[in-house]
Assembly symmetry: C2
Homo-oligomer: 327 residues x 2
Amino acid sequence: MHILVVGAAGMLGRKLVERIAADRLSLGAETDKVTLVDVIAPAAPASLSSITNASEVDLAVPGAAEALVATRPDIIFHLAAVVSGEAEADFEKGYRVNLDGTRALFEAIRLEGTKEPYFPKVIFASSVAVFGAPFPDRIGDEFFTTPLTSYGTQKAIAELLLSDYSRRGIFDGIGLRLPTICIRPGKPNKAASGFFSNILREPLAGQEAVLPVDETVRHWFASPRSAIGFLVHSARLDLKTVGPRRNLMMPGLSALVGEEIAALERVAGAKAVKLIRREPDPVIQKIVAGWPADFNPQRALSLGFTAETTFDEIIRVHIDDELGGTI
Amino acid sequence: MHILVVGAAGMLGRKLVERIAADRLSLGAETDKVTLVDVIAPAAPASLSSITNASEVDLAVPGAAEALVATRPDIIFHLAAVVSGEAEADFEKGYRVNLDGTRALFEAIRLEGTKEPYFPKVIFASSVAVFGAPFPDRIGDEFFTTPLTSYGTQKAIAELLLSDYSRRGIFDGIGLRLPTICIRPGKPNKAASGFFSNILREPLAGQEAVLPVDETVRHWFASPRSAIGFLVHSARLDLKTVGPRRNLMMPGLSALVGEEIAALERVAGAKAVKLIRREPDPVIQKIVAGWPADFNPQRALSLGFTAETTFDEIIRVHIDDELGGTI
C-alpha cells in the first residue's frame, strides 16, 4: 500500500510516519511505499528510508499536485495548512495554500481518474475553527459552520469540496475536525492556544509556564496520540459506513483549565502546580472566549473513534510518549 | 447610485430591473446608473436605456470581473449561476461558473479596494440546495449545510466566501437562500421542480399540466414578487444589523401539493383543477423526496423579510403580475 502524507514535516505528519515505521500493518494493509511532502523537506525515519520518497512540494504551484498524484497513492493524508494566525495575517497566502492547494490536490485526483480508474482514500485534517461563536453549551453533529477566521473559512470550504468529490465517486474522503491537541510537544509557541499545553508540559519538565486566562475557561482537547489514532482509524475504516456527511467532529475531552491543573497536581504534585504563573492577558482571554468549549460527537463515537476521557490520561500519554515514561 | 446586476438576463434579474425601472428610488437612494451583465446579452427596459450599460460577460473569464468592478458599482446583485441540473451534468462548468466566477467577482472587489477605498454592498442569490437530506421536520437557522449536489456545494462555498470577505471589511455582503419560486412565469421546463409551478400556471391559462408526485408532498415556496422583495429589502437594509452570519434562509410558505390544488380551486374553480393530469414519475418523486420541505426562518423574519402566507396569495400575485389582473 502506497501512503502519501501531505504536510509530513508538521507535528501530526511526523507522528503518523513514526507510527507507520513502528508497525507497517498499522493502516490495515502493509505499507510498502511512502511519499512524504511538505513546504519544507520532511525527514523519513531510518527504518522507512528504503521505501520512502521525501520532497519539498507546494501543492498550490501549478503541476505540483498532478505530479504527486501521478504516483497513484492508495491513501492520501492531507495535513498541510497555513495556520490560523498566518491565514488571518496574510489573506492571499491563506487562500492560496489552504483553498487553492487543497483544490489542486482534489482536482489532480479527478484528472488522474480520467486516465485510468483511480479511487484513493483521502483523509483530511479539518478543525474546530469551522465553527464560530455564539455556540450552544454543547455543539451537536448538525451545528452549522459559520467560521470567524479566514482559516476556518478555508477549512469549511475544503470540507464541502471533500464531500462533493466523495459523493461524485472521485475519491473516498473523510474530514476530521480535530480538537485542540494537548499536550503539544516541543517548545512554548505564540499561538493563542499554546497555554493549554504549556501549563502542563513546562511544569512536568520543571519549568515555569504562564496562564493568561481564568481557571474557569472550558475547552475541547485530545492528545497527540489520539489525533494519530483518528488518522489511523480513518485509514482502516470502510468510509461507506460514514454516509454522505463526510466531515466529523472528533471525540475529545471537554475540561476546565482548573481541571487541567488538578490533574497536574495528582500526577506531578503541588510543586509542579506552583510553576504555573498567572498573568491575565485580556487579548488572549478575548480570543479564547470565541472558541468552542464542548461537543457531543455522537457520529464519530459510533464509528469507533476514541479519545481520552480524563486529563490524567492526557498527561500520562505525554509522559509515556514524550518523556520516556517517567517525570 | 450605480447598480450592477450579474445574471441580468435571468428571471430574477429581469424582474429586479423592471422594479428599478418602475421606481428609481426603490433601492433606497436614486438609481442613476445601471450595469447589466449575463452570459447572454441582457436587455434594459426602455425607460432605463439612457442610464444603462448592458453587455455579455462571463465572470470566470480572466479580467472580466476586474473590468466590471473597475466601474465601482455601489450595489452588486450577484444572481448568475449554472443551474442545478447543469452543474451536476457538467462538473467543470459548474465549478468554473458558480465557484470560480463568484470568487473572481469577490477578488476583483478586494483588489479594487487596494487602489482606492471601496466598500460596495453585495447581494448574493443562494439556494435551499445548500441543505441535504435527512432534515428535521422544520429546518432552523442553525442547521448545517451538507449539500447533496455540486450546485449546492458551490452555493455553500460562495456563502462562506461572502461571510469571510464581509467579516474582513472587503465588501458588505448578504446571502439570500431563496425558496422555490412559484408561480414561475414562462413555459413549462424540464427542471424537476417545474411541476410545482406548472400545475397552477398552466390551468390558470386553460392548459393541461402534469403532476408527477403525490398531493402529500410538502415544499417551501415564495412568489417571484417576494423574491424581488428580498433583493430590494437587502439593498435598503443596514447589513450591520445582520451580524457576522451573513447567509439567511428567506421566508416562504410551507405547503402541500394538495394545498396548492385547493387554492387553485378556490381562485379558478373545479374546471381549472380538472386540467391537472396525474402521471406519477418515480424519478421525480425520488429527487423531490430529498428536498427540504419546511423552515423556521426566524432571523430573516426578524430582519423584516416577508413572503406570502397562503397559496391563494401566491396565485393572486401571479394573476396580478403576469396575467394583467384577471383570468
